[in-house]
Symmetry: D3
Subunit: 243 residues, 6 copies
Amino acid sequence: MKFYDPKPLGDATRDLLGQVATATLSSQLVKRGLRSTYMQTPRPLNPKAARFVGPAYTVRMVPAREDITELAFPTDPDFPQRKVIETTPPGHVAVFDCRGDTRGGIVGDILVERLRVRGVAGLCTDGAVRDSAAVAEQDFPVFCADVTAPYSMIVHQALDDQQPIACGGVTVLPGDIMVGDIEGVIVIPSPLADEVAADAADQEHLESYIFEKVGEGGSINDLYPPGEAALADYERWKKERGD
Amino acid sequence: MKFYDPKPLGDATRDLLGQVATATLSSQLVKRGLRSTYMQTPRPLNPKAARFVGPAYTVRMVPAREDITELAFPTDPDFPQRKVIETTPPGHVAVFDCRGDTRGGIVGDILVERLRVRGVAGLCTDGAVRDSAAVAEQDFPVFCADVTAPYSMIVHQALDDQQPIACGGVTVLPGDIMVGDIEGVIVIPSPLADEVAADAADQEHLESYIFEKVGEGGSINDLYPPGEAALADYERWKKERGD
Amino acid sequence: MKFYDPKPLGDATRDLLGQVATATLSSQLVKRGLRSTYMQTPRPLNPKAARFVGPAYTVRMVPAREDITELAFPTDPDFPQRKVIETTPPGHVAVFDCRGDTRGGIVGDILVERLRVRGVAGLCTDGAVRDSAAVAEQDFPVFCADVTAPYSMIVHQALDDQQPIACGGVTVLPGDIMVGDIEGVIVIPSPLADEVAADAADQEHLESYIFEKVGEGGSINDLYPPGEAALADYERWKKERGD
Amino acid sequence: MKFYDPKPLGDATRDLLGQVATATLSSQLVKRGLRSTYMQTPRPLNPKAARFVGPAYTVRMVPAREDITELAFPTDPDFPQRKVIETTPPGHVAVFDCRGDTRGGIVGDILVERLRVRGVAGLCTDGAVRDSAAVAEQDFPVFCADVTAPYSMIVHQALDDQQPIACGGVTVLPGDIMVGDIEGVIVIPSPLADEVAADAADQEHLESYIFEKVGEGGSINDLYPPGEAALADYERWKKERGD
Amino acid sequence: MKFYDPKPLGDATRDLLGQVATATLSSQLVKRGLRSTYMQTPRPLNPKAARFVGPAYTVRMVPAREDITELAFPTDPDFPQRKVIETTPPGHVAVFDCRGDTRGGIVGDILVERLRVRGVAGLCTDGAVRDSAAVAEQDFPVFCADVTAPYSMIVHQALDDQQPIACGGVTVLPGDIMVGDIEGVIVIPSPLADEVAADAADQEHLESYIFEKVGEGGSINDLYPPGEAALADYERWKKERGD
Amino acid sequence: MKFYDPKPLGDATRDLLGQVATATLSSQLVKRGLRSTYMQTPRPLNPKAARFVGPAYTVRMVPAREDITELAFPTDPDFPQRKVIETTPPGHVAVFDCRGDTRGGIVGDILVERLRVRGVAGLCTDGAVRDSAAVAEQDFPVFCADVTAPYSMIVHQALDDQQPIACGGVTVLPGDIMVGDIEGVIVIPSPLADEVAADAADQEHLESYIFEKVGEGGSINDLYPPGEAALADYERWKKERGD
């Protein structure tokens, strides 16, 4: 086991990560031997807010148990599920470990609004959210495995925050760099974020050339991966476009 | 076991229930100790007809069995799956117990059209419907767990109607008040419908105030749930808006 | 839909059905076009009481709902789940539709003892039973999908008896002939029981010959199904053994 | 087992199949005793390219295994997963057997673009595709069970093409006629395609009459299926419309 | 959320808990409003060591991730999964949260032997163990959801110990009283252990009387629950037996 | 993709593989980077015939389809599911790809008897077998995911043999070395069989020493993995025992 302090996310890398697809990021991570960093179940509720980038701020939910869980709406500001709404730093992503249980919603439109106002970058869970009709219209990226009507206390007990968690089958350490798009969520170990972002951007640039050439009738045998001729032509293409 | 005669649904309550979210109704029911009234799997096919309210008219499907089920299209008007189309009272919701089996569709566009013309309030099932491209354009709320091409007789045998059923993991008694929206379907025991509707409307009114104040930068610690100051301000806000 | 009155189970057919495997009965039913009569999930708890034969006495459980289900142990003799224990006729099989939900046990050792003393032929469910260590030692066939500690009221509400049910994916009509062995449970439509039993016994007799000959080195190409030579030898074999 | 040479798909039948719903095709196939021809899991990614018709060109993926699967992007033109992109004939449908495993995407936007340019009719899989945001905007029918970010090599090994496969629970033989719409995919044995297409078109024509009459207030008991009066009126209706 | 310091387990209560069934304990807990304390998936590997009682010593596993998980056998004594073997106190039960993932075994016969020698009371997990043929013969209660051949590092990363965990769908706090038998595992909040143990023993004593009387032909309507006459007879029965 | 000709299984390696656990073999394969070689679902039916070793002889089943599958018992000797019974070479293991579908049994007691008489080493499937009461008493290793009563033709169509297949989530090439024990089945690429067998035997020998020392009170920190002192003592121990 090799744990490490998270490396902060720089602005340039944040910008690059905001422009590339999770599919490309996955390729860059697999190339480095990391096959276990993609969460398939969380998907965006609002198609116009379907991307986020930011360091993880984690929350762990355990199963509700009648001797420790109050079924009523929690009012204590220190209750972890409430506290995270006020303490997730701006630019970070709140990540909830719900063990894949979607029967109770961890947030509704009011808590999402608070996250939005506070400048949080997004919310990601392998559980569910509620008030989803309203949430789907808020300008804030909410990624979840399903929507549901009941509140979380019927199945979940909020436990603690900023601990390592499992979410969507992937381990998330506080400070890991989270990137979400329509295909799901990628967890990038923070020490790798800079190089993965740069290489992913390069890869997508090359692929936009390949896509164009394939659209013009080129065979993938020449272009994908590009042979010598294609790579030379790509250099020419880049120059022409001034990239 | 405490069964009871269903209480008819009054117009005022029907109106209120048509304006509140299933998430709010769930909160009101859980507050009264009813945690087991929400169906997660049925979701609306037509986004423009994504809500219904009405008393349940129930139909039970059991697994097809070759000695009792004819694979051919049923023509007998007394066949329960046909009969329900002509007998569900206007304003009621036809609820089909399909044991969660979505391999055969219980209705297609023609039967849905008949329900619509007859003034039925909606259709809800934990099974599937077919002709879904057409159904998704009809002005009638159809909630189902999935869509499918084959007709129901390959997996289902219609059995009887107006008996208690299980649908989407919830027991539905004939006359229970069904409310559906984008998040799924809530079953309200009919004796509770009036008070649940009234309290849900009150709750949503208060929450629209809270949502507005959170949008203006208020902390959930002051507003959600509202403290004394917030409640006083809410009274002022209501007066200002003339509510 | 072709429903019919159940045909009573005669003693000779009961005896034959007690000697053949559900695999053989399945073959006889599939040969007659009935592919949907086998329940895979119920399996015997007590290896020494791993078979039953008898007409079905059905009970239906629906999901527990807090307004109709009392969590406490039911004391009313008319409560269906209790009533069935005293009313399932001797020689019949109590069949519980639990929708495959195994989280609450429908009977424990005391109710099983009462069924045994009353001469009931067996119990079959796609749900669970509790006190399974004790039940596994009682001289009574209990077939279930799993064992569990909590009682049924945490997930089930007993609804009615002697109605058609779904159990283990198969429709069971009251009076259907139920046969259970180590591989699961077969539901035989009562009008077919006599001929299916007779043909199954014949098939097993022939197969015992084939098994013997294969054990002596015969190829399945000659024996299974038997060609003319094998059939003639089978007649000789039967005579020799005095069958 | 009765295998047969595929019958080529004629233009007239291709046209008819492009106009009818998979629900109608399923009815025609069930009427002929074929209940097992519908795949429920593949659904279209691009709502504007949500239909395809064409003979199947099959590819089989087996689980990745470290001694035979290279994790890196495959470059060999003979690698089956690449080869199929260049060899699926125009007008055919590439069908990938992924054993329902959606963790690795079999194609992304570049390979889809190549299929489109080459005039392939569509792609269908019970697995996943990647780059789905881009693919959802390409003018090419891609039907899949889910979307995902990682590439296929983390879970799949491409094995061979033009062999019988299982996809979405249905056996697909090379040359079977594949039809996809919003409800999923139907596999039509090629020898039946002409008659099934013709009868499906007739059925839909009659149903458009029935739908219209039900919309005008007619009861399904008179119209669906149509009685003698309705059939006579349908003949009149057809004449009026000049059909 | 009401957390509390665990209450130590006294010898008398440990003895009582070792004599009653988890089914009885579940009844006592449900009677007190605790419905969510039973784990269904862990079952004993060795039928002769199929019971345990002891306070929980918890370990949490998260998904393996290539940047933090070494695939090789762990040698560091502080690695949590190793450490727990040497630090679980005698008389306690080691409880592993494996998120229900049974693909990698958390212990094999050597680690189990060490737990046995050290006087640990048992091991319980919703994951799997390996070397199960050997473990099934060791005189030590190992409860797991399945057996498997690979070691845990292919899917799990040991994270920490003595934190609250989820196991088999139930929250386990360090020091909760764990009781396992053939039906699964019950988690008793430590403050309730004494009274639940006493009442469960009383309940089983009464039920042994009821079982005997039912075996002699009594109806459950008189005996279960016992009416006044039965309760009086039970007092007589107890005296006779000298209980 | 790197396919290769299978390497025949030598007697010495066959003997070694028959003495080690699949858990040990998994460790040796993971050590070589092969994480994807273990099938979890197949388990032995007969506890006294719970091990096999042999090269794979593969059979592929696809879903039954009414135009190609005859529901009747197959009589053609060239039908793949029959042919494999007569053609699997002695000492080989028949491996059936059933796509995890356990609703139809691929063999019963007569076919198993024929395999036994012919000297086949075992049968392994991710599907089901029937006549399981009889099969569980035959002296032949049958590993399956479940038992069932109906024959295979209700869900499966036998397709071909000696092609690569997927079974229990693992790719099996004809000639791969299959080893089964109580924990499931390991697939060893044939070129690795000799070294994996030798190293597994060495590992188990060392572990038997460790197990003994742990039983005498040794700490895993000294013994597992063994430090220098332990390794020296192991050499002494081996000499003493004459190993």
